[in-house]
Symmetry: C2
């Protein structure tokens, strides 16, 4: 059992992103079934199109972004919810001047991230 | 895959609570491993001491409350995170004049809620 403030948690740069970092709020060692993380994307930041081996259930806290999931694009802001199934390509692009923050819950299962190349040569 | 705004989801009264309701944002039918819900507790509301058969991973969105977990009491507000293991007694009491809102994630496992009687006779 614990109670903590999210701002106290270490901030880890996300290598696959731009101006993007992540905090583990409830880790896979602490929670028996899933992990609770908070992503922070600064203005101009985001993540390129990629897939994960696990699903995401997300809740937007503040800021705004354009999110692509599969072939669809959505403009999201506070209190929007997204469900991204495992293996579905998705990307994030911060819009506006505020930091984009969202909760992202993932199951305690091995994950791999793979960037999606749309235009080969 | 979907994107939705939390305010659009049906609001279900929580029978065990006072002035307390809940929205299912990602259901156990939609998410393969866990469900994402939002609880809304109006000023004066809350939930009495109880246990659940499953753990809770929670993120406070807005408002404030006094939460008891086991033998400890915490005053929580926006961006606080709580982890309540399965079987640990917990209660909620809204403090202040604003609605208390939080995300609560639970695994896709059978749950039962049991009220805790502290003073028998």
């Amino acid at each position: 059992m614990f109670v903590k403030h999210a701002d106290e948690e270490p901030v880890n740069e996300v290598a696959a992103g731009t101006n993007t970092s992540m905090q583990v709020l409830v880790s896979s060692d602490e929670g028996p079934n899933f992990a609770l993380r908070r992503f922070l994307m600064e203005p101009g930041g985001g993540m390129p199109l990629h897939t994960n081996a696990v699903e995401h259930e997300q809740y937007v806290l503040r800021g705004s972004a354009r999110i692509r999931i599969g072939e669809e694009t959505f403009d999201v802001s506070a209190d929007d919810v997204t469900f991204i199934p495992a293996g579905v390509p998705h990307s994030y692009e911060v819009t506006g001047d505020e930091r984009f923050e969202f909760i992202c819950v993932v199951p305690n299962q091995p994950d791999t991230i793979e960037l999606v190349e749309e235009w080969g040569c």
